[in-house]
Amino acid sequence: MANPDAAYASMDAFLASVERRALRTAEFSVNNRDDALDLVQDAMLELARRYAQRPPAEWPPLFYRILNNAILQFHRKRRRHARWFGWLENDAAVLDAVPDPGPDPANSAQQGEAMADLSAAMQRLSLRQRQVVMLRVWEGLDVADAAAAMRCSPGSVKTHLSRALNALRSQLEEHT
């Protein structure tokens, strides 16, 4: 894309089209909206800085790969921190163990029972399963792009998705 203004506008449109889903993906993964917003912003920045000149068709898997890496990094950092400083933060650990009520009670009420059930069911999935659900079910990436975003094989994507859907189906049926 030779024209920088056209590339900028195109990137802006792409990010606007994925930002809400990206935020939910990050939020399901880290259970905190502020952290999720930071991760999404970092992913946007990296995509815009490093890949703005790449064809727009390549942006979705690249963006989700960056976001997924950021999420994995976030969990690694949190684990490392807990390992080294956990003995200092017993009170904080107790607070962290309490499920995050979300940023806005009014918003939670809006989301309704179905959303609450879905959210609870998603939390029971592994991180990889959550990622594959968001990428394949919601974002609509095909198997190859989802595999590129998750840095795994297409076969692994299919397996994760199949198991995740089975788990979600049985959990959601329990609630209905």
Binding site: M11, L15, A16, R24, L118, W138
Partner: protein, 120 residues
């Protein structure tokens, strides 16, 4: 292709995927979070945009042009450097200005002699 159309999944899994997608699509996002998200997007895009070097280069070019103009006005290039012939007064002044003190003394002596001769 969304998972709900994936022929590799069972009909139940596809139906589950369709319901999931529908539920996720209906997730509301409060105005504050939407605004924060848009601001994050703008920050990311602005930070990634290459800086505008044009004004700096324009300023440097203007400064260079100014220096060149001042330099040319002080030391004009291309003007006619052929020496002009000096007039009589200038030649006399030049001769006097290049004379040594001894020559002045001799000149005064000759003038005194000439005056004295006239008087005598």
């Amino acid at each position: 292709m969304h998972a709900e159309h994936d022929p590799g999944l069972s009909p139940e899994q596809r139906r589950c995927a369709a319901e999931l997608r529908s539920t996720l699509d209906q997730l509301p996002l409060d105005a504050v979070t939407q605004a924060r998200l848009s601001a994050a997007r703008r920050r990311a895009l602005d930070a990634s945009r290459p800086r505008q070097y044009l004004p700096i280069w324009t300023g440097a070019a203007l400064a260079a042009a100014l220096v060149a103009a001042v330099s040319l006005s002080l030391n004009p290039v291309g003007t006619d450097a052929t020496p002009q012939p000096l007039d009589e007064d200038s030649l006399e002044w030049l001769a006097l200005s290049t004379a040594t003190p001894g020559m002045y003394e001799e000149l005064e002596l000759y003038e005194w002699l000439a005056d004295d001769g006239d008087a005598g």
